[in-house]
């Protein structure tokens, strides 16, 4: 089975054909985004006169610069917060066997099941009463809390499999618990931290429902909300819409292809359990 035979070659061709089918929509996306609006030929025919006009117009009219900045801010801030608080919380939850610790862990498991649609509307009311609607900081707060159960769950599972010897040694040497966590435990958590970082960043960056709720009617937008507004504004000008979609996809794909190994391993590694 380790040789490259003609059957392997056939399989190779089949798999490449599958990959082409998967890539086809992206080809159409780019093709429509760079062809002039006057070109009304079939969308699958490669354009003969590529132009950047749609891209510049979409950038100028879509408010995408501000939306990208907001998305970067919300994603960075909320992911950093959730990684910090969840890893810290996982430490006692993974180590202690007391009743409070098991109770908290059960709440975390409950949080994995609760769909956010249940909390979304009452929380909307609370955010409104606090005057936080239309603020990106409301989103940071929201994601920091929303992602706690999943992130803590990942950390607890990983930490339970770690030996306790290093922590005990550090404690014997007179470290305080917080120092033990900061200098001994947290560095050992690096693999699961990468996984949690990747999964949380993608979930937060891509989320649409929450910013649609909490930012609607304000001039603050994240990328998905800006795109929805853009599509609403330029209903059938698909060249322009596709240009906006291309602009929003380029940063994600650039990061993905640059870090593909850690990202894919992050997805697979943490979930392998």
């Amino acid at each position: 089975m380790n040789r490259y035979r003609w059957r392997t070659f056939v399989l190779e061709l089949v798999m490449i054909a599958v990959a082409l089918v998967v890539a086809f929509p992206v080809y159409v996306l780019v093709n429509l985004a760079i062809r002039p609006t006057s070109d009304t030929s079939s969308p699958i025919r490669p354009t003969t006169s590529p132009t950047l006009d749609n891209l510049t117009q979409a950038w100028q009219e879509g408010g995408l610069g501000g939306a990208l900045a907001n998305s970067v801010l919300v994603t960075t801030a909320s992911v950093l917060i959730v990684l910090a608080v969840s890893s810290l919380a996982a430490y006692p939850l993974a180590r202690a066997t007391a009743r409070w610790s098991r109770g908290m862990f059960l709440l975390i498991l409950l949080g994995l099941i609760l769909p956010f649609q249940l909390a979304a509307l009452p929380l909307y009311q609370t955010m409104r009463d606090l005057g936080l609607l239309g603020s990106v900081w409301a989103l940071v707060l929201f994601y920091a809390g929303l992602q706690v159960p999943f992130t803590t769950f990942l950390y607890v599972g990983f930490m339970r499999a770690l030996p306790r010897d290093f922590e005990d040694a550090a404690l014997i040497d007179g470290c305080r618990p917080l120092e033990v966590f900061r200098y001994v435990v947290f560095p050992m958590l690096k693999p699961i931290t990468v996984t949690a970082l990747v999964l949380n960043a993608i979930a937060v960056w891509n989320d649409f429902f929450t910013p649609l709720l909490y930012l609607s009617g304000s001039d603050q937008q994240t990328v998905p909300v800006a795109l929805a507004g853009f599509v609403g504004q330029f209903v059938s000008d698909w060249n322009l819409i596709f240009a906006a979609l291309v602009i929003s996809v380029v940063p994600i794909l650039a990061v993905y292809f640059a870090l593909q190994r850690s990202i894919i391993n992050g997805f697979a590694g943490g979930l392998k359990g």
Binding site: M1, T8, E12, V14, I16, V18, A19, V22, P25, L29, P43, I44, V85, L88, A89, P92, R95, M104, L107, G111, I113, L114, P115, Q117, L118, A119, A120, L121, P122, L123, Q125, T126, L141, A144, G145, L146, V148, P149, L171, I172, G174, N206, F208, F209, L213, V223, P224, L227, A228, I241, F242, V249, I252, Y256, F257, I263, I264, A268, K272, G273
Partner: protein
Amino acid sequence: MTTIPKRHNRERRLGSGSIPPWWFAAPAMLLFAFVVLIPSARGIYYAFTDWDGLSPDFSWVGFGNFTDMVGDPNARQAVWHTLVLAVAITIIQNGFGLLLALGVNTMIKSRNVLRVLLFAPAVITPIVTAYLWRNLLGPDGAVNSLLGAVGLESWRQDWLGDPQLALWAIVGVIVWQFAGYSMVIFLAGLQSVPREIYEAAAIDGTGPVRRFWWVVRPLLAPAFTINLMLSIIGGIKLFDQVYALTGGGPGHATDTISTLIYKDAFTLGEFGYSIALAVVLTIIVAVASTSQYFVLSRNERAAS
């Protein structure tokens, strides 16, 4: 002389002192309570009221919202659509994901490039892929152009405008985006199958299909658990793609519980009813995930 205080220190530390203090969990639990637990509890309460989301006074209506739901054809349809979507996505996405994983986990030269390419759609913002596909699946879109180009004129459809097809078009878009995600998790499972076991079976003359069924499949049990859980829960909660592809239309042909929650709350102002729908959604997710968890972990134990 120095050993005595050290030993004393050690005993004290390794007693209760080696367990990290409970307040380490406090910041996370406070955020979690503020964003998820307290609003969810209030949500369950509001589900039994006629609150409109704005006025300070509302009244208790008991199970009124839930009995209304039984008589509401839109709600009944939305529950049905949600279940169809979740089941269809789970089966088709994981079927493709498994085939892709088996194909990539071979000696083919393009395996590393293919893995990266096939997973790529999974990181793209769902709302972006949904708008992309809304155009591709339109009457003059690329899918129909492609069908025309290969001589399948009669297969051309208004994919999202036909109530019979729209739900399946949504399934197709989700499968396109997330089959690579399932593939990556199956691949991680496949790569944990020891080469020797596989080769031993091959030497024994076991064919590829039997080899898969008797050797590989049992070892993939954890990957199955994770993939099935992720896709069924994701399918039940689906909102973004439906909102951007069809908005629940044509008519109510693709409304799911999530899109109905949004419409009832923000266009009709029926918060109480909308949250009652969210409670139903919660119950479906809870039943699906716990029953699946028990069935699959029993299979995992049986397989190991």
